[in-house]
Symmetry: C2
Subunit: 139 residues, 2 copies
């Protein structure tokens, strides 16, 4: 039982509402890119130019390794990611975005991160304050 300030709980509840509504809106963005929500999550985690082991991906997705195999199978079949054995440990498979995958990811990030018009309700100074407070809590 942590002792939070009196507003932390309500602020967090708003953020949880947001997450659940995002849960409903991600499928629409995904469908626009002809991807599933889970595939979008994988693409989002694979930053361009950075190699990620399948096990790392399983940890980040908080899912079983066997699940990652299937996700990667389908993304690889569509030419969006590449799967190569690691040079230093051949048990490990290393994932990278293909150029096509990087383009798909860029499109995804663009769709996901265009802020809702409701942000316009805040002044520039308020937007800056919001950003700073969120950064301290979430980063």
């Amino acid at each position: 039982m942590t002792h939070q300030g009196p507003h932390a709980c309500r602020a967090w509840r708003l953020l949880v509402e947001l997450s659940l509504s995002q849960r409903a809106s991600l499928p629409a963005v995904a469908a626009e890119l002809d991807l599933s929500p889970a595939q979008c999550h994988v693409l989002h985690l694979l930053e361009p130019g950075r190699a990620v082991a399948m096990g790392e991906l399983a940890s980040a997705l908080a899912c079983d390794a066997s699940n990652v195999t299937g996700l990667v199978d389908r993304l690889e079949a569509r030419g969006l990611i590449s799967r190569q054995p690691s040079a230093s440990d051949r048990r490990v498979k290393v994932l990278t975005l293909t150029p096509r995958g990087a383009r798909a990811r860029a499109l995804l990030v663009e769709r996901l991160t265009s802020p809702p018009v409701a942000f316009g309700r805040l002044s520039a100074a308020e937007q800056r304050t919001l950003l700073e407070l969120l950064a301290r809590v979430l980063e």
Copy 2:
């Protein structure tokens, strides 16, 4: 292309990161309650004492009606919700939480809304400011 203040985009990006990380944490909360993430979403949408038609649920979940049938089948089989034909339009099926479902929902909300310790980094005044700004954007 909307014109947002310079910080809106970054603030929104933080919120999207949060949503995707929630996407990874919801399954753990769900497993604790022996539910799936989708079932948690349904339970969260069914407020105690309020009747919801299946079609409304499909809209709120942004999914096909046929999918709701399966979700409701499983929740009803576990005694968490009840499905009754509407008195005014017998095509419509109306959903309500059972007492057991209401208890499961209360537990779910409690688990979901306990704020992360990182909120402690903010002073009480800052938490209040954050709440007010979020409320204006998200409500």
